[in-house]
Symmetry: C2
Subunit: 243 residues, 2 copies
C-alpha cells in the first residue's frame, strides 16, 4: 500500500508521500514515490505514485529518459507548454506501459494498478495539481476540493476534510499533511516512514523545500505527540453526553 | 455500506450503528442494524450487523424465532449459559444461512458477506464483546484493543485509536462513539443517520439506554460542530512547521 497527498494553495502546492512498498507482509522495502523534474526559472514538475511498483517505475523512467533526450521525437516533461499538457503526457505514458505490460499482468491475475498525483508550474502558467488514473485520464484539484489523495486515503482524510483550505500558508499545509500521514501510519502498517515532503511556492519556478522525515525525526515526533495530546483534550472539551 | 462500533468498558459496553442500507447509490433505505434481546435480571444480548441485508436479517430472524419458541430443540439466545456460547450460537446460525443461501448468492456473483458485533452479559458472567465473521468464527475485544468496528471502519478509527480506553465512563464512551460516527458520516455517503446508540452498564442485566439520533438531533449537531472547532484549534496548537 501507499499514501500520497497533495494540497493546492493560493501560494503554491505541498505534496507528501510515504516510502513503503510491499509484496506481502513479509516482504517490505523502501522506495521513494516522489519524483521531481526541475529546471529553475522554467518549470517544476512533481510526480507521486501509488499502485504496482513496476508500473509506476516504468512510467517514471519513460518520462525521465525522454525528458533527458537531447532531440526527442515527441513532447517531453521539459518541452510541454502547460501543466495540462504534462498531465496528458503522463496519461499517454501510463497507456503505453499498459499496452506493454497489461496483458501479461492480467494473465498472472495481477491488475494493472497505478495512480499518480502530478503537480507543478511552468513559466507563464498557474500552479496545478492533478490525479492521473491507470486509464490515463485525469482530474484536477479546485477551490472546492483543494486536496487530492492516492493509496490508503481514508485514515488521513478526516483531518484534511476539516482543516484544508487553499488560503493556508505552505508551512501550515506542510504541517497538515504530516498530521494526515501520522493518522495513516498509526492505522495501516503498509504505509511506512520515512515520508518525503515537498513544498513549491507559486512563481518560484524552483523547489522551495524537499525534505525526508525518518522514523526518528524530532519534529515529526513532536507534532505527532502534540496532536494526540490535543485530540484527547479536544475530546474533553466537547459537550458531555446528554440523553 | 454500514458502520457499527462497540467499546468494551470496565463498567459495561457501549454500541452504535448507522441505519443506511443501499443497493446502488440510487436506492438507499433506512434499516436498524441493532437488535437487542433483553430479559431483565437474567441477560442482555445485543447484535449489530454489516454486510448483505438479506443475510443479516435471516440470521437475526432465525435467532429471534428460536429464542421465542417455548420448547426449542437446541440452545437459544435465552438458554445459552455464557456469552461465549451465545457467540458460538450466532456463528452456527451464520453457517446455517450460508448453507441455505450461499450457493445461490455465488451463482449470481454476489458474495455471502455478513459481519456482526455481539455484546452483552448473562447473570453470573462478564460483559463481553465479540466480532463474528461470515465464516461463523469470532474474536473478542480485550484490554489491549477494547473496541471493535465493522463495515466502513477507517474514517472513524483514528479518534478511537487515540482516545478509547476501558476505564472510560459509559457516557464518555457514548460521546466518543458518536464522534467516531461523525467522522465517518462526513466522508462516506453510504453511512447515514439516524444512528442507534445503546449503553449497557455492568451487572445491571437490563438496557440502560437505547436512543436514536436523527439527522437534526440537537446534541449530535452540537458535538459535531464543537469537535470540528476543537480540531481546527488543536491544529493551531501543534508546533509550527520547522525545516
Amino acid at each position: 500500500m501507499t499514501y500520497c497527498a497533495g494540497l493546492l494553495l493560493n501560494d503554491g502546492v505541498v505534496l507528501a508521500s510515504d516510502t513503503r512498498t510491499n509484496a506481502g507482509l513479509d516482504n517490505i522495502a523502501t522506495f521513494s514515490k516522489m519524483r521531481i523534474w526541475e529546471r529553475p526559472g522554467d518549470r517544476v514538475v512533481v510526480l507521486l505514485s501509488a499502485g504496482n511498483l513496476a508500473v509506476s517505475q516504468a512510467v517514471a523512467t519513460l518520462l525521465d529518459e525522454r525528458a533527458e533526450t537531447e532531440a526527442p521525437e515527441g513532447e517531453t516533461l521539459f518541452t510541454a507548454t502547460s501543466m495540462f499538457q504534462v498531465a496528458r503526457l503522463v496519461g499517454a505514458v501510463v497507456r503505453e506501459v499498459r499496452q506493454m505490460d497489461g496483458e501479461a499482468l492480467e494473465a498472472m491475475s495481477e491488475s494493472f494498478s497505478a495512480t499518480f498525483l502530478l503537480a507543478g508550474q511552468i513559466e507563464g502558467g498557474q500552479v496545478r495539481l492533478f490525479q492521473v488514473y491507470a486509464a490515463g485520464n485525469f482530474i484536477e484539484a479546485t477551490q472546492d476540493t483543494p486536496f487530492l489523495q492516492i493509496g490508503e486515503h481514508k485514515y488521513g482524510k478526516p483531518i484534511l476534510d476539516r482543516v484544508a483550505t487553499m488560503d493556508m500558508a505552505p508551512a501550515e499545509a506542510a504541517k497538515l499533511l504530516l498530521l494526515s500521514f501520522d493518522s495513516t501510519l498509526r492505522s495501516n502498517l503498509s504505509v511506512g516512514m520515512p515520508i518525503d515532503l515537498m513544498i513549491y511556492r507559486k512563481d518560484a519556478l524552483k523547489v522551495e523545500l524537499k525534505r525526508r522525515y525518518e522514523a526518528d525525526d524530532a519534529y515529526f515526533k513532536k507534532i505527532s505527540e502534540s496532536w494526540s495530546e490535543a485530540l484527547r483534550s479536544s475530546f474533553g472539551s466537547v459537550p458531555d453526553f446528554e440523553i
